[in-house]
């Protein structure tokens, strides 16, 4: 099958933020003229393909559409135009402050996140000990998440995505989580995860170091369009030069 060669195929993807202002009944009663609809296009027609097992880095300045693109790939945004095909792979988005329910304990949140990522209860149970150990939370795991420090919060979210492995991983700026020790550990774990042959990974990062050591190829986004796409050696120097 031809299609199995690629894990992700994106064709002419456009994402707009349109009429995002909330309406209020009070305002619309007293204001007869309609507020005009503003359209802001965050991603302006992008096409690319990612091979199975490939590790793609995405660079670009703030506001160039990187996070929007990742969210669209994860199925959170629908494309306004164009298509995204992930060929039925499981996909997870790892980003700073993954959503937890603050009232619930860490353990319950591990369950819920796992179920949302599409894993069965037995599978989560079998991985539970590993996640708790990796997160270094100890007794805090049975306390409500709102009592966590921000470092503990991100450690937990990293551990969940790192240990409940999906076919495609989207990583948004999370390689700087926790203290120096955890950072080292998570970097190592990330590298180990990424280097599994059949795992497809997309990393968004501002750190050239990270991208250089992890990625096979780089996609450079600028104002919602692809400015350059190619090998690390080719794109990164150009990007760095541009940013100076």
């Amino acid at each position: 099958m031809m299609s199995s060669e690629y894990a992700i195929e994106v064709d002419n993807l456009k994402i707009q933020y349109r009429c995002l202002n909330k309406v209020s009944i009070r305002k619309s009663l007293f204001q007869l003229k309609k507020s005009k609809v503003e359209i802001f296009e965050a991603v302006k027609g992008i096409s690319f393909k990612v091979k199975k097992g490939q590790i793609l880095g995405i660079v670009g300045k703030n506001g160039s559409g990187k996070s929007t693109l990742l969210r669209a790939l994860a199925g959170i945004f629908s494309p306004d135009e164009g298509t995204i095909d992930i060929h039925d792979h499981t996909i997870s988005l790892l980003s700073i402050g993954v959503g937890f329910q603050k009232k619930l304990t860490g353990r319950e949140n591990i369950y819920l996140s796992g179920l949302l990522l599409g894993f069965s209860e037995e599978f989560i149970n079998s991985k539970m000990a590993e996640i708790i150990k990796f997160s270094e939370l100890g007794d805090f795991i049975d306390r409500p998440v709102r009592t966590y420090s921000s470092g503990m919060y991100s450690k937990l979210s990293f551990s969940i995505t790192a240990i409940l492995e999906t076919d495609i991983m989207l990583i948004d700026e999370v390689l700087s989580v926790g203290d120096a020790k955890f950072k080292k550990k998570s970097y190592k774990k990330m590298k180990q995860l990424i280097q599994k042959d059949d795992r497809t990974v997309i990393i968004v990062s501002h750190s050239s170091e990270t991208l250089k050591s992890l990625c096979d190829s780089i996609l450079w986004l600028h104002d919602g369009k692809i400015k350059m796409q190619g090998s690390v050696e080719e794109v990164l120097p150009a990007y760095e030069k541009f940013m100076e």
């Binding site: 309406v23 994860a74 945004f77 959503g99 304990t105």
Partner: protein
């Protein structure tokens, strides 16, 4: 769409179940009287309404405390679920912005946690029925289709609330007032049939599904009568229709919910 709905419900049902369970658990863990509140809350309200109706308004209804209790249990389930649905997407923003899930699953979570509380107060109703030695008949079995209809109606209205709640900022205010109105029109602490003149009885009982269900629930649990089967069936069908409409609207728009801010 039906296929997709069925597949998604199967896939995410477990999530909704675990989420509702943890929600209830955390509610218990955070309050001093813990689960006692699930019993105390309806019990105290029952005392308030019983006081107002039987002492201030001098109503004489057989088994009045149970009468109020049944009304309150059903009403609180309906009211809480619909009210919570208005802001449900923005309240779960942390999940919605990170991972895809069909948004009506969030309503499932609320239906399950509020439904559990309703079951708790219904078990109190049964205890009180034993204490008062209420005569029973086979008509009591009608509570199963009645509860099912209540479930469908609640889900139907909640899907609509969920969708418009995302776009309309002050919907919560309007819904609060409307729900208050429906509360007084549902005969929770008075008997619609005994207090009101025609044509209001027919209008309220036929056009207000909550009033209809509460009234029928009492008839079959306390007074050995069968419910209004035809109107009930009709409301069940209407509930299913609105649910289908609501779910399809949610499917169509849910991916732009996150973009609204």
């Amino acid at each position: 769409m039906f296929k997709k709905f069925w597949r998604d419900v199967n896939k995410y049902f477990n999530y909704a179940y675990v989420s509702a369970k943890s929600e209830l658990k955390s509610e218990v863990a955070n309050s001093h009287l813990s689960w006692l509140w699930w019993i105390l809350d309806p019990l105290l309200f029952m005392l308030v309404y019983t006081f107002i109706s039987s002492i201030v308004f001098r109503q004489k209804i057989q088994y009045f405390p149970i009468f109020v209790f049944i009304g309150l249990s059903c009403w609180q389930f309906f009211e809480k679920t619909v009210k919570q649905s208005v802001k449900i997407v923005s309240q779960n923003n942390h999940i919605v912005a990170k991972v895809y899930l069909p948004k009506y699953i969030l309503i499932f979570v609320k239906i399950m946690s509020n439904g559990f509380k309703m079951l708790v107060s219904f078990s109190l109703v049964i205890i009180m029925m034993l204490i008062y030695r209420v005569q029973l008949s086979f008509n009591i079995l009608y509570i199963i289709p009645l509860l099912l209809t209540l479930l469908v109606i609640t889900f139907a209205f909640s899907t609509i609330m969920l969708h418009f709640g995302v776009y309309v900022e002050d919907l919560a205010n309007v819904v609060n007032v409307l729900l208050r109105l429906v509360f007084y029109m549902s005969g929770i602490f008075y008997s619609i049939k005994g207090k009101l003149p025609e044509p209001y009885i027919t209008i309220l009982l036929k056009c207000n599904p909550v009033a209809l269900m509460i009234d029928d629930m009492r008839e079959c649990m306390l007074y050995c009568n069968p419910p209004h089967r035809k109107v009930l069936l009709l409301w069940f069908a209407v509930g299913i229709l609105i649910s289908i409409l609501g779910v399809s609207v949610i499917y169509k728009n849910e991916n732009s919910y996150v973009k609204v801010s």
